[in-house]
Amino acid sequence: MSSAASISELRYRDGVRAAIAVAATVWFFGASFGLVARAAGMGVLAPLVLSATTFAGSAQFALTSILGAGGGAAAAIVAAVLLNTRYAPISISVASLFRGPRLRRLVESQLIVDESWALASRGGGRFDRRLLLGAGLLLYVAWLSGTAVGVLAGDALGNPKDLGLDGAFPALFLALLVPQLRAPRAVLAALVGGAIALVLIPFTPPGTPIVAASLACLLGLRRSDA
């Protein structure tokens, strides 16, 4: 075996290995999602289909909380889709890693998720294909199997509020937010977006504050002064 071959063989495994700790958290959140979705009246099959197709925790939790609060289909869809709109620029940032027929690229691109994308970053806007797909595959399995355990054994796992999970979600989002705040413009946009959401919570249907907050992205239209 040549050293080049062994390096390329190892690197999907490197992606899997790098993602093991994160996958444990993702499994836990998948189980939490299944639990919360069941409690919100989504049944057994719908949460599994959602995890298999959407594979994005924040959007799934957001739409579940909106449905659970009686927020309606439109608010749930708009909030979840807007939350996942970041996957357009994220997928564009790694577009050059995907080759071959379009169907293959479509299937492989579903392994893009915040954590696999972050783990695959090599700095300077460069990304590693094998780290992305290796990590993404492990995280996908963790998310889906966690969801299955959550919806099926939900009662055995107890009330998510007793476990403090409703306080863990915003902390997780905060942990994912902090690494995004390197540029002053990103800090300003995050503050404006958070302020818009805060002000609108008492006055608008669930989901709307997040949708309206996205207007803060328009700060990006200003030319960079950096």
Binding site: V81, L82, S93, G164, L172, G194, L198, S214, L221
Partner: protein, 102 residues
């Protein structure tokens, strides 16, 4: 079709399409500069809004409860450079304990 299935199918299809945008449609082509600058801010803005709504959001009202303690403990853990799983567990514990005590 029930509300739940409508939401699941629309969001599922939309997300599959969003994740495929770059790999399937664009390849190596770059976004126009102003669009790229707006798109780059989506993640921080949406995550920030989500932190706010998940921490103090209620049914058409602001609710200050044990979640605040969880996020506060999580923020301390993040500042101390704790790994993601630790942040999550610490925040959950702080929320659960505060709910028991208050």
């Amino acid at each position: 079709m029930s509300t739940v299935w409508l939401v699941v199918l629309v969001v599922g299809i939309a997300t599959v399409a969003l994740k495929a945008t770059g790999p399937v449609l664009l390849g190596d082509r770059e976004l126009p500069e102003p669009v790229a600058r707006v798109a780059a801010l989506l993640a921080p803005v949406l995550l920030s809004a989500l932190v706010v709504t998940q921490t103090v959001g209620g049914d058409n009202e602001l609710v200050l409860d044990a979640r605040l303690a969880g996020v506060g403990a999580g923020a301390v853990a993040i500042a101390a450079r704790a790994p993601l799983p630790a942040v999550v567990v610490i925040a959950a514990l702080a929320t659960a304990i505060t709910r028991l005590l208050v």
